[in-house]
Symmetry: C2
Subunit: 303 residues, 2 copies
């Protein structure tokens, strides 16, 4: 190819170079989707095999978050919890060390909203932009690029990130300023956890009272008790199918984020408190790798 | 009209004579719907005005439950709670005293499922049939004949009752044997109450964390947190509209039924327990006449 072919055609600027940090269960398929969408990609992760896989698929590898940042226009992080994100972005040799003025950092992990605001503020001081963009939809959503993405950002930053997010998900909503995506995710996990517990209690009550739980579930789907959880997780409970899905130990992590946030902003979550306890009980009972609908087992197996 | 005209045409037997006991907020419009559907109706109620209204609309009045039963093929009861139903059907001068062999009793109140089974068993000893058929859909559903009706009965009794129930509601499901309708209703109220509390906690958390709750609600309706409650009661909460709907004090009554049943069959309802406490708190705070979505006020007004 000649020199002319290497120049982007007028009106079609070269796609931004993306750095991706955290190639776990979710991050690995998301990074692959970015490659498939044609983005030049640099990756970094704690474990070697997914890095090798991504390199084989066409990505570059970098040795540190700062190295990822210095070679990228946009850095995406997909990490387990708040301290991981703070360490990778703000810590020694972190993203912030390699950040240039125009860098956009998109954290897609589920973390404490106040942590997200801290990270966003620190990056802003260096002239870099930050979006919190936690997802729901699980491993399958990551693989099929059908994730729901809840975004906290300024409108211009959101618009800059949108084409990239569209390579990863489908239902992409700007909730509010930085941190708002994480707040929405916390609200989501609160409602999902509480509803799973309620459905588990109701179906167990039906069974113990001598009534077929499947019939109760069907009847209730036609009324005010209808929910996506009654429909999908209710069916899992009836089938005794607790293969994840979304692991109970991750929902416990999210429950701690929810409770920390509630405590920070002064809301008592009387209804959610026992749900968090049940998730802890699942993990303590070595059931943390099961789907969160396994809350049903704790209710059904009692007495 | 001649004598011949008073005979039902062949193949169209005369409609059963119905007795209706309990003309409260729900019972009054239900009885009117039965009259409109062409059923000969005898009514009885504690307070006089709705009796007068029904008589003006074409019903007969009777002085006691036994008098209602002796003039009817089918008796429907719509009463506040388990003891009321037991007194009206099994007590002195009760339905059972006027019951003939072919009598069908349909209790549409929301009561303890084990109470329903006791009533059904006592009637069966006298050769009378019993259905428990609690409803959901509230006053509007009663007025518009769009109630959801959850039925516990034998199949022949269900089939005998069905045309009558179709004059009162739309979504009519046979759940199982006698008592099963009440079990399904208890499960419904458990899930509805717990979901209202979860939505109230989530929307309050969003607001306190500085994020617009309406945006969070909209975003969450697209994912796993979706429910009829998030949709309808979530909107009530955002609008601060707590006109019933379904009164908190009635949900508290149902909560006691749920907890009594759970205790009787040995299920611990860890998640529902604080929801029942919150409903008690609403009633104690003179908010029991508000819609049950007023649980939001308890969460939002704290701190």
């Amino acid at each position: 190819m000649g020199v002319v072919d290497d120049q982007p055609p007028q009106g079609e600027p070269a796609p931004p170079r993306i750095g991706f940090i955290g190639l776990g269960v979710m991050g690995r398929p998301m990074a692959l989707n970015l490659l498939r969408a044609g983005y030049p990609l640099t990756v970094q992760s704690r474990s070697r095999p997914p890095v090798d896989e991504l390199v084989a698929a066409g990505a570059q590898a970098a040795d540190s978050p700062s190295a990822v940042a210095s070679s990228a226009d946009v850095v995406i992080t997909m990490l387990p919890d708040t301290p991981d994100v703070e360490a990778v972005i703000l810590g020694p040799d972190g993203v912030i060390d390699g950040a240039r003025d125009s860098l956009l950092v998109i954290d897609m992990s589920t973390i404490n909203p106040l942590g997200a605001r801290r990270v966003g503020a620190a990056l802003a001081e260096r002239g870099a932009a930050f979006l919190d963009a936690p997802v729901s939809g699980g491993q399958r959503g990551a693989e099929e690029a059908t994730l729901s993405i809840m975004v906290g950002a300024s409108l211009p930053d959101f618009e800059r990130a949108l084409p990239i997010l569209q390579a990863l998900g489908r239902n992409i909503v700007l909730i509010g300023e930085v941190g708002a995506g994480q707040v929405a995710k916390a609200c989501n996990q609160l409602i999902v956890g509480a509803t799973i517990e309620a459905v588990a209690e109701a179906l167990t009550l039906a069974e113990r009272a001598g009534v077929t739980p499947a019939t109760v579930r069907s009847a209730l789907l036609g009324g005010f008790a209808q929910s996506r959880i009654l429909e999908m997780h209710g069916e899992r409970m009836l089938d005794g199918n607790f293969q994840p899905g979304f692991r109970a130990r991750l929902h416990l992590k999210d429950a701690r984020i929810i409770q920390a946030l509630a405590s920070e902003v002064g809301v008592e979550l009387a209804g959610f408190a026992p749900v968090a306890q049940r998730l802890q009980q699942l993990v303590d009972g070595d059931l943390g790798e099961l789907d969160h609908s396994a809350l049903f087992k704790l209710v059904a197996d009692q007495g």
